[in-house]
Symmetry: C2
């Protein structure tokens, strides 16, 4: 089985929610994605941290088949994001973004990462995403995340990287901004026309939508009694999905659907605790049990009963 | 097969959307619900109209097994609602509400309606809903809709009618207001504790959620390229669901799930045109084809593949 290459941020997050508080908790898109993907496959992680984050704090990732040799320690401080969620956990305000060493992040793939054929480019500058793709041999399967800022300010490199992307993962606001339409079907089609044969639009508590090969697929979020912190839910969704695809060694639409369900399972585990605590406690059996719960939640009799 | 009793409003709707306009189109909760339920079963309709609405305009309902002998013609004008939708069709402003003859609506069931064992009480004053239940012999299966105004102003009669309700159908805002919590699972449980063994929370474009018998079920809305007018989507959802349950002659959870999928099909047909035009054009085959489309949209491999 090949490894999954993940390029993104490692960070400290300071988070306020209506019911709690986490100060300098481990975070970052690459943390959530790799902690989840490591449940399914081996992971090559490329990121940067500062001198204030001991690499030992990431050792739980290694026990999850996440290789850390692509993580650079730069002189300075680690990326630090601080935010607060409103009562419904749907809206958040960014209180501060200190990029620190992440401002100069210039991903360099170790030689043994350059043959990876499964790649997840988490949300970073599209120019860096392009640079990463240029370092990879062959034609990998590329999944891409981005954000409003890049859609608004980096149109050309973003379109360039999209044209080399197989699967793009956006939230509903980003999809609307990128496509210019709020209609989820029209939006997904327009984004697919930019390059990716598969488009996933995440809708937070309302689940996720896939457009691929002219087919639609929709899965709801798992309703949870306890929602603590939504930070990282989207990144663990992507990590779970890409981890499963890598393990499966196949990206057919039926496998993609199963992968999205595992991604949804990952998101549900993430929001039940601060930071990656929910993911750390979970094993493959836990993911399987969430997969089954999502099947029970959504399945109904396919047979028409003309009673 | 028994008949479904539907009690609610018949109205003229004047509707502005970002792309169109309908003046004095046929509307009202009972119109949408009965036009849909009539696809599945015979319907006993109880409502009131004014002298400005010729009963012949409702004759298409009769061709759909909707009995109109419970529709009273009162002196005065028919209920007239006027509203405008914002760009995303999710938010609407009420421009005017002229209750007219509906202000004095006092539902009287014809004698042959009093044995109906399937009842849908559309959104009217909870005191009137209670009054209707008092006119029915036996212990029918009762589905109930209501709205923010009654939750805020008619707490006691609403709680009374809820205690006699089997299935309550609310949208997400109403459920939050009634339960005091936004968490969909906690909210549905709290509302179930008020009486109904089954609680459906409608989420518009995000689908519908069921809590019944300790089980959860979730179905997304069908993504549509063309959305014209969402007016009546919730009422046709309820009508389709109750029509199917009546036809099935059973309210088990598996039948309820199928019924919700037919309700979702009805809502999708409703929003594709103004007034009941989408529903008028549809037949049972069309409903079945939407049922199959919703199954294709949501189904995934239940088998865990530990690849």
């Amino acid at each position: 089985m090949s490894s999954l290459l993940i390029v993104g941020s490692l960070a400290f997050d300071t988070i306020e929610t209506p019911t709690g508080w986490a100060d300098r908790a481990l975070g970052g898109s690459a943390l959530y994605a790799s902690a989840t993907a490591g449940i399914f496959c081996s992971v090559h992680l490329v990121s940067v941290i500062g001198e204030d984050l001991a690499i030992e704090e990431l050792s739980f990732l290694e026990s999850r088949r996440v290789d850390l040799s692509g993580v650079t320690v730069a002189s300075g401080k680690t990326f630090h994001w601080s935010g607060a969620y409103e009562a419904n956990l749907n809206n958040r305000r960014t209180l501060s973004t200190d990029l620190n060493v992440f401002a100069d992040f210039s991903p360099q793939l170790p030689l043994d990462y350059r043959n990876d054929q499964m790649v997840f480019l988490a949300n970073i500058d599209p120019s860096l995403q392009l640079d990463v793709l240029g370092q990879i041999d062959g034609t990998p399967f590329v999944a891409l995340d981005t954000m409003n800022m890049w859609i608004e300010t980096a149109g050309e490199p973003l379109q360039n990287v999209l044209s080399q992307t197989d699967l793009v993962i956006l939230n509903d606001e980003e999809a609307e901004l990128l496509s210019g339409t709020r209609n989820i079907l029209t939006s997904a089609r327009a984004i697919s026309d930019m390059g990716p044969s598969a488009v996933i639009i995440k809708k937070g508590e309302h689940g996720a939508f896939l457009w691929a090969d002219g087919q639609m697929f929709s899965v709801p979020a798992l309703p949870l009694e306890t929602m603590v912190d939504p930070t990282g839910a989207g990144d663990s969704f992507a990590g779970g999905m890409m981890g499963y695809l890598t393990q499966a060694g196949d990206t057919s639409i039926d496998t993609l659907k199963r992968a999205i369900v595992y991604g949804t399972a990952a998101a549900s585990l993430t929001v039940e605790a601060f930071s990656v605590e929910g993911l750390r406690r979970a094993d493959r059996d836990k993911f399987n049990s969430r997969y089954r719960a999502l099947h029970a939640l959504t399945s109904f009799d396919p047979v028409l009963r003309e009673v």
